[in-house]
């Protein structure tokens, strides 16, 4: 099968959906002719579809999302880009009070088919305002869906589902994955939300991992294999809805779980997954649940500081050994 980068897979999803449905359009800062997005995901689309459908905006995150909502409730399917995940804080009211609540508080009169794409993740030395992973903020907001693709295949299939759906989707990409290559079929496909993918089958312990941590977990698994330890890696692909069944099935099989995510630990993704496992599968556990997450700090700048806070292959291996 052909290989594409994560970036190209995302672009292909946008392009194909724009060709398929003329109500799909893009808006965001510097997504058009000159830059094609800070991470070049939309490169070339303004040339193909024009400035109306690939719309550069002022630096006004709150209005970008508010405007996208206004279009979504009047017949369009906007895909808004927020240049860095941290900057979603500027649009929090529009995301969490408006997009998330409109369907509910108006009694289901309208749908909000809105996709908000934004990258999370540390590792490129751009410090506290451009590096954090904030999935948990949005998992905590009923009305939003949360997608976290870790491969080019997942990125394309999930983005298509997000665009075709009728609910606001927080679509979280990862900076370190944009150039990552993987197999992507030529033909049209979608990936349903709420269906986890087993990235590796194993016996001795389950690793629940998202985004870049899936790749750190795969590297850890390779090393552990050499030591005779077999791990199973569950990638939820969407955090809302969450495929609890896949997590339970794996935990019941291995009796051990390590949760590896890049957000900070307190009230983070890992807290929710640990709580679900404790609530629904405690009797199947042979060891305490182990979480590998960032410490509760902002992301620091200096390389040794930054590397210290990001979970990695080594910290995952250490955690797996602790639960065995």
């Amino acid at each position: 099968m052909r290989e594409l980068t994560y970036r190209d897979a995302l672009r292909e999803a946008l392009r194909e959906e724009m060709l398929r449905d003329k109500t799909v359009f893009l808006l965001g800062e510097d997504i058009g002719h000159y830059w094609g997005g800070a991470f070049k995901v939309t490169k070339g689309l303004a040339e193909e579809f024009g400035d109306e459908r690939v719309r550069d905006t002022p630096i006004s995150e709150s209005a970008i999302i508010g405007v996208a909502i206004g279009t979504a409730i009047t017949g369009m399917r906007p895909v808004a880009e927020i240049m860095f995940g941290d900057l979603s804080a500027l649009a929090m009211d529009q995301i969490c009070n408006q997009a998330a609540k409109i369907c509910y508080m108006f009694g289901g009169q309208t749908k909000v088919p809105l996709v908000i794409r934004t990258p999370f993740g540390a590792g490129v030395n751009i410090a506290s305002h451009h590096s954090q992973s904030l999935e948990a903020w949005f998992m905590h907001t009923p009305g939003l869906l949360v997608a976290v693709p870790s491969t080019p295949f997942d990125a394309k299939g999930l983005l298509k589902t997000a665009i075709r759906g009728n609910n606001p989707v927080m679509f979280f990409e990862h900076k370190l994955l944009y150039s990552f290559k993987g197999e992507v079929p030529e033909e049209d496909y979608t990936i349903p939300f709420g269906e986890a993918d087993m990235k590796l089958e194993g016996e001795d312990a389950t690793i629940f991992a998202t985004l870049y941590m899936v790749h750190e977990a795969l590297a850890a698994a390779q090393e552990l294999r050499k030591q005779g330890i077999s791990v199973e890696i569950i990638d939820p692909r969407t955090l809302v809805p969450l495929d609890k069944q896949a997590i339970m099935k794996s935990v019941k099989k291995t009796g051990r779980i390590v949760i590896a995510t890049e957000d900070c630990k307190t009230a983070g993704i890992s807290a929710e997954i640990a709580a679900i496992v404790a609530e629904e599968a405690l009797d199947y556990l042979d060891a305490p649940i182990k979480r590998v997450a960032e410490p509760d700090t902002p992301i620091p700048f200096s390389p040794p500081l930054e590397q210290f806070v990001i979970p990695n292959e080594k910290t995952i291996i250490k955690a797996v050994k602790e639960v065995l």
């Binding site: 002022p58 206004g70 279009t71 409730i73 009047t74 009070n97 108006f106 009694g107 009169q109 309208t110």
Partner: protein, 318 residues
């Protein structure tokens, strides 16, 4: 000056809002309205005069003080009242209440209770119109308080650079809750801010329905013909406090009395009578019709069932 039919219709809409709101106030006193209410009494000329220029397929966005906008856009009084009482038959099936009424069938895109949050949504509706290539228009209603939010700046700027068919309607009732306008802005006319975005702004007497109508007529016409957005500031006054619990003691009595003399409804009625378009008999008939429509709305709402508790779990997702 619009035709007689239009004038009488505006008068009727203003009366409908006034009677509706007075009844909501009464019902609240009888403990029949859960939560709080923000009444539109005193500001009827703004929604009445503006919405008389809109088509059914035009859009509006509204605020926590939104009953008047809904009614003027053509909402069903029964479903508005049922929503305010938290009934299943309300516009939002009891999930929104007084501050969150929407009726998508008449282009009423909903009231938001976050001050200023509806402004970018109105701009989005304008962008949608442009992208879909229709000749609809959007009116985004908000207050003087909202004009100090960042969304005001971000949104008007975007509508201006993209020349969108949006009319920004600032209802300046002089107080953001209890905060007087002069405490929070150096300028007297909020419409002056339009210049900063390169669009036209006008300030009108928001208690004169004909002044509002004329300003809106021009702005809507321009927007519909691709000439872009405008900011219309309507100076008005709420007769009651900010919400039901607010005795509004921060307003000097002389100021209140002066504004009560400018009550838009008797003012418009006198004008219509003076120019011979409304006889006392017609006025009485209109008033009776309005009163019975409001009574019918109350009866409908009172007799409607509450939603079943488990419905709280529905509509989180489409």
């Amino acid at each position: 000056m619009p035709e007689k039919e239009k004038l009488i219709e505006m008068y009727r809409q203003m009366l409908r809002i006034r009677h509706f709101e007075e009844k909501v106030y009464e019902l609240y006193g009888q403990n029949l309205v859960p939560g709080t209410i923000h009444l539109y009494v005193g500001q009827e000329a703004v929604a009445g005069g503006f919405c008389a220029n809109l088509r059914k397929d035009d859009y509006i966005t509204s605020t926590h003080r939104g009953h008047g906008h809904c009614i003027a856009k053509g909402a069903d009084l029964r479903k508005v009242m049922a929503e305010i009482l938290g009934k299943k038959t309300g516009y939002c099936k009891g999930k929104g209440g007084s501050m969150h009424i929407a009726d998508f069938s008449i282009g009423m895109l909903g009231a938001t209770a976050v001050v200023g949050a509806g402004i970018p949504i109105a701009v989005g509706a304008g962008l949608s119109i442009k992208l879909r290539g229709t000749d609809q228009v959007v009116a985004g209603f908000f207050g003087d308080g909202a004009s100090n939010q960042g969304t005001f700046h971000e949104s008007i700027n975007m509508a201006a650079i993209w020349s969108l068919p949006v009319v920004f309607v600032c209802e300046n009732n002089l107080y953001a809750m209890g905060t007087r306008q002069s405490m929070v802005m150096k300028i007297e006319n909020i419409a002056d801010r339009a210049a900063a975005y390169g669009i036209q702004g006008v300030t009108v007497d928001g208690n004169d329905v004909l002044a509002v109508y004329e300003a809106a007529h021009n702005a809507v016409d321009r927007a519909r013909h691709g000439e872009g957005p405008m900011l219309i500031e309507c100076k008005t006054y709420r007769h009651k406090g900010h919400s039901r619990f607010d005795p509004a003691t921060y307003r000097p009595k002389a100021e209140v009395d002066e504004w009560l003399k400018k009550d838009p409804i008797p003012r418009f009625k006198a004008k219509l009578q003076k120019i011979g378009l409304l006889t006392e008999q017609e006025a009485e008939k209109t008033e009776q019709e309005v009163i019975s429509a409001v009574e019918e709305a109350i009866k409908f709402a009172m007799e409607s069932p509450y939603p079943t508790p488990e419905e709280a779990l529905e509509n989180v997702y489409a």
